[in-house]
């Protein structure tokens, strides 16, 4: 197992390197706003723009910029002019072209909001999705099953942005019809951890809705397959109680695809996929920040957030794979 983990970590680092290279290529190949011109402002003359381009390190060859960035992220060395453009590393992601604030500072400032949003949403979608999937599988083809599956289809189809706005207009305590939950930007107003959690209640529900529905459908399908297996029949024949049959034998086998999904979903959301929820509820998270960075062609910020995101996806996938080994005795790693 240890060898497996080490191998996966090394592959993860290689993947981060590759992701960074792709981002660099995209930035230079596809049309984007020129960050030096944006920074220079209206009516800047060519000399000023050239000077700003040099300051930002954009006048160096692309390969040099890329290697400098990798050096700053992964090593403490002053190679490729690292000290002249943002300083040495490790874990130095450079400064935002727009605000000149260290990218690490911006990401660490934004990450808690996204992390809390994702954590709460995960709890909700597991609490909603798993029991729904199990009960639907057990009560297959009953009215309850049909109602839950149609409802889940509705939540899967509804765009998150729309769902969020509807939720605000119905339940927000400032603009809603029924004043129950904190509304837009209440996260910014919250002082304590509990206040922040309460401010995210509606965003949690919105973000969890579609995912819970997907998980319910997946688990239902998986449970139906598992519950028809021979060993389930054997367990019943041996006199094992029905709840034990379902939970210890059925769910334990059926849940492995859900674990895979969970790892991917958490990684993707931490990488910025919660952008729509963050925008609707004005939660100052990572997703929100990367959209602004893309509009402003703020390469260091884009790079930094993408790298963080890739890191989370790699880590959570590794956690998921390790969890498999414990959940499913049939899985063993060489």
């Amino acid at each position: 197992m240890l060898r497996y983990i080490v191998r996966r970590v090394l592959w993860g680092i290689a993947l981060l390197f590759l992701v960074s290279a792709v981002i660099f290529l995209i930035f230079y190949v596809f049309p984007n706003a020129d960050p030096a011109k944006l920074r220079a402002g209206r009516q800047a003359n060519p000399q000023v723009i050239a000077s700003i381009r040099e300051q930002l390190g954009l006048s160096d060859p692309i390969w040099q910029q890329f290697l400098r960035y990798m050096t700053q992220v992964f090593t403490p060395f002053d190679w490729f002019g690292a000290s002249l453009h943002g300083g040495t590393g490790p874990l130095n992601f450079g400064n935002s072209f727009q605000s000149n604030t260290p990218v690490k500072e911006i990401i660490l400032d934004r990450l808690p909001a996204t992390a809390l949003l994702v954590a709460g949403a995960v709890v909700f979608w597991l609490l909603m999705g798993l029991p729904t999937g199990i009960i639907s599988a057990i009560k297959r083809r009953t009215l309850l099953d049909r109602v839950t599956m149609v409802t889940s289809l509705a939540f899967i189809s509804a765009p998150v942005f729309w769902l969020g706005l509807v939720a605000l207009y119905l339940f927000a305590d400032d603009v809603g019809l029924i004043h129950i939950f904190p509304g837009q930007a209440s996260y910014l107003d919250a002082d304590s951890f509990l206040a922040k959690c309460w401010s995210l209640f509606l965003p949690w529900l919105v973000l969890a809705a579609a995912t819970a529905a997907i998980y319910a459908r997946y688990l239902r399908s998986s449970m139906i397959d598992v519950m028809s297996e021979d060993y389930i029949r054997t367990a019943r024949a041996k006199g094992v109680g029905e709840s034990s049959v379902i939970m210890r034998h059925g769910v334990r086998s059926a849940i492995t695809p859900i674990v895979t999904l969970l790892g991917l979903d958490i990684g993707l959301l931490l990488a910025g996929n919660a952008i729509l929820t963050e925008s609707v509820f004005n939660i100052p998270g990572v997703g929100h920040e990367i959209v602004t960075a893309i509009h402003r062609s703020d390469l260091p910020l884009i790079q930094g957030i993408v790298l963080f995101g890739a890191f989370f996806i790699v880590i959570f996938n590794l956690i998921v794979d390790i969890a498999y080994a414990y959940l499913d005795p049939r899985v063993r790693y060489q």
Binding site: L38, G41, R42, Q43, P284, H288, S297
Partner: protein, 628 residues
């Protein structure tokens, strides 16, 4: 009439009344009290520009913004929304009380003395003005000199110093110095500081008027060299993370300023601090607190500063829900976004919200559609006149939200700017192709025939035009409406929508790449002088190979000469007349389709006594208060 029917009709009547009121507005009015009428703003939506008599001290105001300011560094700040902060946190040499249409002394102790030849300007600096913690010392004239000099550094990307202050003696030499040393602010020999309270500016020509106006912008906010030099030495400058303030408010920093809400004073809790701004989180939030070292009464500051704190929250992507939050909430105001059309209607009709929660302020800006005069088909003036004549400029204006968002433009100087009335006011110059705001196909046909198109419509390969515009509303809507109007006249339009920043940096502001039409451009005044509206957008001398803002690429020798000469006029009346004539000349050459003089529409919570500043068209944080 039955009561139920009357109730149903009442909103419609109110909207109709609003339309009538708006359509009957226009023409006349001077630049102070009548300005808002000439900007098409009915009296019930006129923004208060003075605090009420019962304004109370205390409270925290929240400003809701969609985006961020451009720069916290006053040397680089060049955005109306950023001025909302700098007007409350920095004391420039000249400043803008809310109802001022000309700059008034702020850091300067009285109006500047200008020599008879208009080439020497002398400012006296007020005593007792102190920097916020941790700098804490009194402001000196040398600090203003340093502030102007550091704005030449490319690490401090100032967008207007070169445009307005290049006539200062020694400016060109200072720019040369920068080639040797890019991280030290160069010396501008024409700025002298004979003592700590005196600043003398020597000019190469008598352009004192625009120079004094430009010194009302944040570039003249003092910067202590001994404190800022270390940050300016970095590339780019990091002073923006350590700014020190002289106004009634400051951005919270690591000195940990605590405000006593009982007596409305403030004190630094941590004396061992570097001045790093902890209250500015780019794209997220800005926290303003009272400046412990500000004494408005002792230093002759006109700002009353009622609030104890201001929080700017950013990231509100949906203007409708954000506006609703403000209108139904407490102690909030809108920042950089206008309310949506739905909200405007709801507030105007009074059904859901109180109408006085919404106000409009002339922004001092215009919007126009630039026609590239350097290549066919718009190198032909008759074709350009035909396009303008054919344009339904009312429809273009309505893509922004309707009448409250500004009157249909007929020339380029906006209301409240000297020269507006002299250039024809709302009605505009006596030119047939701009007379009808809804478009005049007959006049358009006449000009197309004059251009050689006997059918009255464009024919031939020159009529295939490219247009690069915004990919998001309302800019996208404006571009689409104009595209349809061009096609009515026989043009074949290849419209390429791109993001706003790409539109400028890759296409419209790069003459070599510029398409035939740039539909989403415009200009906002830098200060209340017509030079700041006309010079950069229409002078041939300002055409740049990149970051160009003369989008039509107009380079007319007569206009260039007139502009060069008008810059040096010091008499107010003569200046207004000269620039109005230039406005007429530009309009007559038809390089662009002027379609609106923008109004800024602002909303506030019911408990906010909002005061708007006519200079930047935003709420004035140093005059606004909250009811207790």
């Amino acid at each position: 009439m039955r009561l139920t029917r009357l109730r149903l009709l009442l909103p419609a009547l109110l909207v109709a009344a609003l339309a009538v009121a708006l359509s009957s507005c226009g023409g006349g009015g001077d630049n102070t009290t009548g300005g808002e009428e000439s900007a098409g703003i009915p009296s019930e939506f006129k923004a208060p520009t003075a605090a009420p008599d019962n304004a109370a001290e205390g409270g925290t105001l929240t400003v809701l913004n969609e985006g961020d300011i451009d720069y916290m560094d006053p040397g680089a700040a060049y955005y109306q929304v950023t001025y909302e902060l700098t007007l409350a946190t920095q004391r420039s040499l000249m400043g803008w009380p809310p109802d001022a249409t000309q700059p008034e002394p702020d850091l300067a102790d009285g109006q500047p003395q200008v020599s008879d030849d208009g080439k020497t300007i002398t400012f006296k600096i007020r005593s007792g003005v102190k920097y916020s913690p941790p700098v804490d010392r009194e402001v000196k004239s040398q600090d203003v000199k340093y502030a102007i000099e550091r704005s030449l550094l490319s690490g401090v990307p100032n967008g207007y110093t070169r445009a307005y202050l290049a006539d200062i003696e020694g400016f060109a030499q200072a720019e040369q110095q920068l080639k040797q040393d890019k991280t030290t602010a160069p010396e501008i020999s024409g700025i002298e500081t004979p003592d700590d309270q005196t600043l003398v500016i020597n000019l190469t020509r008598s352009s004192s008027v625009p120079v004094i106006q430009a010194l009302s912008l944040p570039v003249s906010a003092p910067v202590p060299e001994e404190y800022a030099k270390q940050y300016d030495a970095e590339s780019p400058s990091t002073y923006g993370q350590y700014v020190t303030f002289t106004g009634p408010y400051m951005v919270q920093n690591d000195c940990d300023i605590k405000v006593d809400t009982a007596d409305h004073t403030a004190e630094a809790q941590n004396s061992d601090c570097s001045g790093k701004l902890t209250g500015y989180k780019p794209g997220k939030e800005i926290e303003l607190v009272r400046n412990p070292n500000w004494d408005g009464e002792a230093t002759g500051d006109y700002r009353p500063a009622y609030l104890d704190a201001v929080t700017v929250q950013e990231g509100f992507a949906d203007p409708t829900s954000a506006s609703q939050k403000i209108l139904t909430g407490d102690s909030q105001v809108s920042g950089d976004f206008p309310p949506s059309k739905t909200i405007v209607q709801e507030v105007a009709t009074g059904n859901k919200y109180t109408p006085d929660q919404m106000v409009a302020v002339p922004s001092g800006g215009n919007r126009y559609i630039a026609l590239n005069v350097t290549k066919p088909p718009f190198d032909d003036i008759d074709v350009r006149k035909a396009v303008i004549a054919n344009s339904d400029r009312t429809a273009l204006r309505n893509t922004r939200g309707g009448e409250l968002f500004g009157p249909v433009a007929t020339h380029f100087i906006p209301p409240l700017i000297p020269g507006f009335e002299e250039a024809g006011g709302i009605q505009g110059p006596d030119l047939d192709f701009v007379k009808n705001p809804d478009g005049d196909p007959a006049v358009a046909k006449k000009y197309m025939e004059k251009a050689g198109f006997k059918s009255g419509k464009c024919e031939g390969s020159d009529c295939d035009v490219t247009m690069v515009g915004d990919d998001a509303p309302p800019g996208f809507d404006t571009a689409t409406v104009f595209k349809n109007q061009l096609e009515e006249l026989g043009f074949s339009v290849d419209f390429q929508p791109v993001s706003h920043d790409i539109m400028y940096t890759k296409f419209c502001s790069v003459p070599a790449q510029e398409p035939n039409v740039c539909p989403n451009v415009g200009w906002i005044k830098d200060f209340n002088d017509p030079q700041s509206i006309l010079q950069v957008p229409f002078s041939g001398d300002s055409i740049n190979p990149s970051n160009n803002s003369n989008w039509p690429q107009l380079d007319d020798p007569a206009i260039n000469k007139a502009i060069s000469s008008a810059v040096t006029i010091t008499d107010e009346k003569q200046r207004a007349e000269a620039w109005a004539k230039i406005d007429d000349q530009v309009t007559a050459l038809a390089p662009a389709v002027p379609w609106v003089w923008d109004n800024d529409v602002l909303v506030r919570s019911e408990d906010v006594n909002g005061v708007a500043n006519l200079f930047n068209g935003e709420w004035d944080l140093a005059y606004t208060s909250v009811s207790k």
